[in-house]
Protein backbone atom coordinates (compact mmCIF):
# COMPACT_ATOMS: atom_id res chain seq x y z
CA UNK A 1 0.00 0.00 0.00
CA UNK A 2 1.52 3.30 -0.98
CA UNK A 3 -1.31 5.71 -0.19
CA UNK A 4 -0.07 9.11 0.91
CA UNK A 5 -0.27 9.55 4.65
CA UNK A 6 -2.25 12.54 5.79
CA UNK A 7 -0.11 13.33 8.82
CA UNK A 8 1.97 11.89 11.64
CA UNK A 9 -1.18 10.49 13.24
CA UNK A 10 -1.91 8.37 10.17
CA UNK A 11 0.07 5.34 11.31
CA UNK A 12 -2.08 2.51 9.99
CA UNK A 13 -0.03 -0.41 8.73
CA UNK A 14 3.32 1.34 9.11
CA UNK A 15 4.83 -0.16 12.25
CA UNK A 16 6.26 -3.57 13.06
CA UNK A 17 7.03 -3.15 16.77
CA UNK A 18 5.27 -5.46 19.22
CA UNK A 19 2.45 -3.96 21.28
CA UNK A 20 3.64 -3.03 24.76
CA UNK A 21 0.72 -4.11 26.93
CA UNK A 22 2.08 -2.72 30.19
CA UNK A 23 0.21 0.24 31.66
CA UNK A 24 1.46 3.28 33.53
CA UNK A 25 -0.47 4.93 36.30
CA UNK A 26 -1.79 8.24 35.02
CA UNK A 27 -0.12 11.25 36.63
CA UNK A 28 -2.13 14.12 38.09
CA UNK A 29 -1.26 16.47 35.22
CA UNK A 30 -2.45 13.89 32.70
CA UNK A 31 -5.83 13.61 34.39
CA UNK A 32 -6.04 17.39 34.74
CA UNK A 33 -5.48 18.04 31.04
CA UNK A 34 -8.09 15.39 30.26
CA UNK A 35 -10.48 17.16 32.65
CA UNK A 36 -9.65 20.59 31.19
CA UNK A 37 -10.42 19.31 27.72
CA UNK A 38 -13.79 17.99 28.87
CA UNK A 39 -14.64 21.28 30.58
CA UNK A 40 -13.50 23.63 27.79
CA UNK A 41 -15.42 21.62 25.19
CA UNK A 42 -18.55 21.07 27.29
CA UNK A 43 -21.99 22.44 26.46
CA UNK A 44 -21.64 25.31 28.89
CA UNK A 45 -18.33 26.68 27.53
CA UNK A 46 -18.04 25.16 24.07
CA UNK A 47 -14.73 26.95 23.48
CA UNK A 48 -13.93 24.34 20.85
CA UNK A 49 -15.32 21.09 19.45
CA UNK A 50 -13.70 17.68 19.19
CA UNK A 51 -12.81 18.16 15.55
CA UNK A 52 -10.86 21.35 16.30
CA UNK A 53 -9.06 19.44 19.02
CA UNK A 54 -8.19 16.60 16.67
CA UNK A 55 -7.00 19.05 14.04
CA UNK A 56 -4.79 20.77 16.60
CA UNK A 57 -3.17 17.46 17.58
CA UNK A 58 -2.77 16.41 13.97
CA UNK A 59 -1.22 19.81 13.15
CA UNK A 60 1.55 19.63 15.74
CA UNK A 61 3.87 18.36 13.02
CA UNK A 62 5.79 15.08 12.92
CA UNK A 63 8.71 16.30 15.03
CA UNK A 64 6.50 17.34 17.93
CA UNK A 65 3.96 14.55 17.47
CA UNK A 66 6.54 11.78 17.47
CA UNK A 67 8.59 13.06 20.41
CA UNK A 68 5.80 13.76 22.87
CA UNK A 69 3.59 11.44 24.89
CA UNK A 70 -0.14 11.14 24.41
CA UNK A 71 -1.17 13.69 27.04
CA UNK A 72 1.77 15.97 26.23
CA UNK A 73 0.21 16.28 22.77
CA UNK A 74 -3.09 17.19 24.42
CA UNK A 75 -1.40 19.98 26.41
CA UNK A 76 0.30 21.41 23.31
CA UNK A 77 -2.84 21.12 21.18
CA UNK A 78 -5.03 22.87 23.75
CA UNK A 79 -2.35 25.57 24.12
CA UNK A 80 -2.43 26.16 20.37
CA UNK A 81 -6.22 26.40 20.33
CA UNK A 82 -6.40 28.80 23.28
CA UNK A 83 -3.79 31.09 21.70
CA UNK A 84 -5.36 30.91 18.25
CA UNK A 85 -8.74 31.85 19.71
CA UNK A 86 -7.11 34.63 21.75
CA UNK A 87 -8.42 33.15 24.97
CA UNK A 88 -4.92 33.47 26.33
CA UNK A 89 -2.00 35.26 24.74
CA UNK A 90 1.28 33.67 23.88
CA UNK A 91 3.12 36.24 26.01
CA UNK A 92 1.09 35.74 29.17
CA UNK A 93 1.40 31.98 28.83
CA UNK A 94 5.17 32.14 28.32
CA UNK A 95 5.53 34.39 31.36
CA UNK A 96 3.37 32.09 33.47
CA UNK A 97 5.36 29.04 32.40
CA UNK A 98 8.52 30.79 33.58
CA UNK A 99 6.77 31.60 36.88
CA UNK A 100 5.65 28.01 37.32
CA UNK A 101 9.13 26.64 36.65
CA UNK A 102 10.70 29.22 39.02
CA UNK A 103 8.22 28.34 41.71
CA UNK A 104 8.91 24.64 41.37
CA UNK A 105 12.68 24.97 41.77
Amino acid sequence: MSAKRIGPHDVAGSVVDPVDTTAHELAGWEKRIDALYKLLADEKRCLFVVDEFRLAIESLGPDVYNTHSYYERWVLAIRDILIKKQIITSDELSQRVVDVLDREV
Binding site: H9, D10, V11, A12, G13, S14, V15, V16, D17, P18, V19, D20, T21, T22, A23, H24, L26, A27, G28, W29, K31, R32, I33, D34, A35, L36, Y37, K38, L39, L40, A41, R45, L47, V50, D51, F53, R54, I57, E58, H68, Y70, E72, V75, L76, I78, R79, L82, I87, I88, E92, L93, R96, V97, D99, V100, L101, E104
Partner: protein, 221 residues
Protein backbone atom coordinates in the same frame (compact mmCIF):
# COMPACT_ATOMS: atom_id res chain seq x y z
CA UNK B 1 -16.31 1.34 8.63
CA UNK B 2 -15.61 -2.31 9.06
CA UNK B 3 -13.00 -4.54 7.59
CA UNK B 4 -13.23 -8.25 7.37
CA UNK B 5 -10.63 -10.94 7.32
CA UNK B 6 -11.48 -14.45 6.26
CA UNK B 7 -8.77 -16.99 6.96
CA UNK B 8 -6.00 -14.54 6.18
CA UNK B 9 -4.49 -11.60 7.94
CA UNK B 10 -3.21 -9.95 4.84
CA UNK B 11 -6.37 -8.81 3.16
CA UNK B 12 -7.76 -6.59 5.85
CA UNK B 13 -8.46 -3.14 4.54
CA UNK B 14 -9.68 -1.08 7.41
CA UNK B 15 -10.70 2.51 7.13
CA UNK B 16 -13.65 3.28 6.72
CA UNK B 17 -10.92 14.00 22.67
CA UNK B 18 -4.26 31.78 41.97
CA UNK B 19 -3.90 28.34 41.57
CA UNK B 20 -3.80 24.79 41.83
CA UNK B 21 -4.78 24.68 45.47
CA UNK B 22 -7.98 22.71 45.07
CA UNK B 23 -6.95 20.44 42.26
CA UNK B 24 -5.61 16.91 42.64
CA UNK B 25 -2.30 16.33 44.37
CA UNK B 26 0.86 17.65 42.79
CA UNK B 27 2.96 15.29 40.72
CA UNK B 28 6.13 13.73 41.96
CA UNK B 29 9.47 14.87 40.65
CA UNK B 30 10.55 17.98 38.78
CA UNK B 31 8.00 19.66 36.53
CA UNK B 32 8.76 19.25 32.84
CA UNK B 33 8.30 22.02 30.31
CA UNK B 34 5.02 20.52 29.06
CA UNK B 35 3.72 19.97 32.58
CA UNK B 36 4.54 23.62 33.30
CA UNK B 37 2.44 24.61 30.29
CA UNK B 38 -0.44 22.51 31.66
CA UNK B 39 -0.21 24.20 35.06
CA UNK B 40 0.17 27.67 33.52
CA UNK B 41 -2.85 27.22 31.23
CA UNK B 42 -4.95 25.93 34.09
CA UNK B 43 -4.04 28.89 36.29
CA UNK B 44 -4.78 31.41 33.54
CA UNK B 45 -8.11 29.77 32.69
CA UNK B 46 -9.11 29.87 36.35
CA UNK B 47 -8.06 33.51 36.69
CA UNK B 48 -10.08 34.42 33.62
CA UNK B 49 -13.11 32.73 35.16
CA UNK B 50 -13.47 30.16 32.37
CA UNK B 51 -13.14 27.19 34.68
CA UNK B 52 -12.87 26.86 38.42
CA UNK B 53 -10.60 24.62 40.42
CA UNK B 54 -13.56 22.82 41.91
CA UNK B 55 -14.82 21.83 38.46
CA UNK B 56 -11.43 20.42 37.52
CA UNK B 57 -11.28 18.39 40.70
CA UNK B 58 -14.82 17.09 40.20
CA UNK B 59 -14.12 16.20 36.59
CA UNK B 60 -11.00 14.26 37.55
CA UNK B 61 -13.09 12.42 40.13
CA UNK B 62 -15.70 11.63 37.48
CA UNK B 63 -13.00 10.33 35.14
CA UNK B 64 -11.60 8.17 37.96
CA UNK B 65 -15.04 6.82 38.82
CA UNK B 66 -15.75 5.26 35.42
CA UNK B 67 -14.33 1.75 35.23
CA UNK B 68 -14.85 -1.20 32.84
CA UNK B 69 -17.34 -2.66 35.32
CA UNK B 70 -19.94 -0.42 33.67
CA UNK B 71 -19.41 -2.06 30.33
CA UNK B 72 -19.31 -5.48 32.00
CA UNK B 73 -22.76 -4.89 33.50
CA UNK B 74 -24.13 -4.07 30.05
CA UNK B 75 -22.59 -7.24 28.59
CA UNK B 76 -23.84 -9.46 31.42
CA UNK B 77 -27.37 -8.11 31.01
CA UNK B 78 -27.22 -8.76 27.28
CA UNK B 79 -26.15 -12.34 27.97
CA UNK B 80 -29.13 -12.86 30.31
CA UNK B 81 -31.82 -10.88 28.52
CA UNK B 82 -32.27 -11.62 24.79
CA UNK B 83 -34.62 -8.69 24.31
CA UNK B 84 -32.15 -6.28 25.87
CA UNK B 85 -29.41 -7.76 23.71
CA UNK B 86 -31.51 -7.17 20.64
CA UNK B 87 -32.08 -3.53 21.62
CA UNK B 88 -28.38 -3.14 22.44
CA UNK B 89 -27.31 -4.37 19.02
CA UNK B 90 -29.95 -2.24 17.32
CA UNK B 91 -29.21 1.00 19.21
CA UNK B 92 -26.39 0.84 21.73
CA UNK B 93 -26.86 4.39 22.95
CA UNK B 94 -30.57 3.92 23.77
CA UNK B 95 -30.03 0.53 25.42
CA UNK B 96 -27.29 1.92 27.68
CA UNK B 97 -29.55 4.82 28.61
CA UNK B 98 -32.04 2.23 29.90
CA UNK B 99 -29.35 1.24 32.38
CA UNK B 100 -28.74 4.84 33.35
CA UNK B 101 -25.56 5.21 31.29
CA UNK B 102 -25.78 8.36 29.18
CA UNK B 103 -23.42 8.18 26.20
CA UNK B 104 -24.92 11.09 24.33
CA UNK B 105 -24.08 12.75 22.05
CA UNK B 106 -21.69 10.09 20.74
CA UNK B 107 -23.52 7.06 19.25
CA UNK B 108 -22.48 3.59 20.41
CA UNK B 109 -22.36 0.67 18.00
CA UNK B 110 -22.21 -2.75 19.68
CA UNK B 111 -20.71 -5.53 17.60
CA UNK B 112 -21.45 -9.13 18.56
CA UNK B 113 -18.94 -11.94 18.61
CA UNK B 114 -20.39 -15.22 17.34
CA UNK B 115 -19.12 -18.70 16.59
CA UNK B 116 -18.14 -17.36 13.15
CA UNK B 117 -17.05 -13.76 13.73
CA UNK B 118 -14.66 -12.11 16.16
CA UNK B 119 -14.69 -8.31 16.46
CA UNK B 120 -11.85 -5.99 17.49
CA UNK B 121 -11.94 -2.23 18.07
CA UNK B 122 -9.21 0.29 17.27
CA UNK B 123 -8.87 3.99 16.58
CA UNK B 124 -6.10 4.10 14.01
CA UNK B 125 -5.84 7.89 13.96
CA UNK B 126 -5.89 8.53 17.69
CA UNK B 127 -7.74 7.07 20.67
CA UNK B 128 -11.53 7.18 20.28
CA UNK B 129 -12.89 4.73 22.83
CA UNK B 130 -16.15 4.12 24.73
CA UNK B 131 -14.90 5.98 27.81
CA UNK B 132 -18.32 6.22 29.42
CA UNK B 133 -18.45 2.41 29.50
CA UNK B 134 -14.79 1.45 29.97
CA UNK B 135 -13.06 4.47 31.51
CA UNK B 136 -9.91 5.94 30.00
CA UNK B 137 -8.25 3.86 27.28
CA UNK B 138 -5.17 1.85 28.27
CA UNK B 139 -1.75 2.93 27.02
CA UNK B 140 -1.54 0.13 24.46
CA UNK B 141 -4.83 1.18 22.85
CA UNK B 142 -3.28 4.60 22.17
CA UNK B 143 0.07 3.17 21.08
CA UNK B 144 1.38 3.50 17.56
CA UNK B 145 2.08 -0.23 17.42
CA UNK B 146 -1.51 -1.26 18.18
CA UNK B 147 -3.07 1.41 15.97
CA UNK B 148 -0.80 0.46 13.12
CA UNK B 149 -0.74 -3.30 13.25
CA UNK B 150 -4.16 -4.47 14.45
CA UNK B 151 -5.65 -3.73 11.04
CA UNK B 152 -3.05 -5.62 9.03
CA UNK B 153 -2.16 -8.56 11.26
CA UNK B 154 -4.86 -8.88 13.94
CA UNK B 155 -4.12 -12.52 14.68
CA UNK B 156 -0.46 -11.78 15.37
CA UNK B 157 -1.33 -8.84 17.61
CA UNK B 158 -3.88 -10.92 19.51
CA UNK B 159 -1.20 -13.52 20.18
CA UNK B 160 0.76 -10.75 21.92
CA UNK B 161 -2.24 -10.45 24.25
CA UNK B 162 -2.19 -14.22 24.77
CA UNK B 163 -5.25 -14.73 22.60
CA UNK B 164 -5.03 -17.56 20.11
CA UNK B 165 -8.18 -17.47 18.02
CA UNK B 166 -9.60 -20.38 16.11
CA UNK B 167 -8.18 -19.91 12.58
CA UNK B 168 -11.61 -20.52 11.11
CA UNK B 169 -13.05 -17.42 12.75
CA UNK B 170 -13.50 -14.35 10.62
CA UNK B 171 -11.98 -11.26 12.18
CA UNK B 172 -13.57 -7.83 11.82
CA UNK B 173 -11.55 -4.83 12.88
CA UNK B 174 -13.61 -1.70 13.52
CA UNK B 175 -11.91 1.66 13.18
CA UNK B 176 -13.54 4.18 15.53
CA UNK B 177 -14.14 7.79 14.67
CA UNK B 178 -14.57 10.92 16.74
CA UNK B 179 -18.30 10.73 16.05
CA UNK B 180 -19.10 7.21 17.20
CA UNK B 181 -17.79 4.46 19.45
CA UNK B 182 -17.66 0.67 19.27
CA UNK B 183 -18.06 -1.92 22.01
CA UNK B 184 -17.57 -5.65 21.50
CA UNK B 185 -20.26 -7.94 22.89
CA UNK B 186 -18.22 -11.07 23.63
CA UNK B 187 -19.61 -14.58 23.49
CA UNK B 188 -20.91 -15.91 26.79
CA UNK B 189 -18.55 -18.66 27.92
CA UNK B 190 -19.90 -22.22 28.03
CA UNK B 191 -20.90 -23.80 31.32
CA UNK B 192 -22.11 -20.53 32.80
CA UNK B 193 -25.82 -21.36 32.56
CA UNK B 194 -26.25 -21.21 36.32
CA UNK B 195 -24.20 -18.05 36.84
CA UNK B 196 -25.80 -15.04 38.50
CA UNK B 197 -25.57 -11.62 36.91
CA UNK B 198 -22.75 -10.75 39.29
CA UNK B 199 -20.85 -13.90 38.45
CA UNK B 200 -21.25 -13.18 34.75
CA UNK B 201 -20.13 -9.58 35.20
CA UNK B 202 -16.94 -10.88 36.81
CA UNK B 203 -16.08 -12.74 33.61
CA UNK B 204 -16.20 -9.63 31.45
CA UNK B 205 -12.86 -7.86 31.28
CA UNK B 206 -12.04 -4.54 29.68
CA UNK B 207 -9.89 -6.20 27.07
CA UNK B 208 -12.60 -8.61 25.95
CA UNK B 209 -14.91 -5.66 25.29
CA UNK B 210 -12.22 -4.23 22.99
CA UNK B 211 -11.83 -7.64 21.42
CA UNK B 212 -8.18 -8.38 22.16
CA UNK B 213 -9.03 -11.15 24.60
CA UNK B 214 -11.96 -13.42 25.41
CA UNK B 215 -14.01 -13.37 28.63
CA UNK B 216 -12.67 -15.34 31.57
CA UNK B 217 -13.63 -19.04 31.47
CA UNK B 218 -13.64 -18.97 27.66
CA UNK B 219 -12.14 -21.92 25.86
CA UNK B 220 -10.41 -21.40 22.53
CA UNK B 221 -10.37 -24.21 20.07
Amino acid sequence: MTSEDNYSDNNVVSKQVHKHDHTPPADQGPVTQVQAIQIAMQELLIEKGLVCAEEIRETVELIDSITPSRGAEVVARAWLDPEFKSRLLHNGTAACLEMGIDLRPTPLVVVENTSLIHNIVVCTLCSCYPRMLLGLPPDWYKSTAYRSRIIIEPRVVLLEFGTNLNPELSIRVHDSTADMRYLVLPQRPNNTENFSVNQLTELVTRDCMIGVTLPKNSVTS
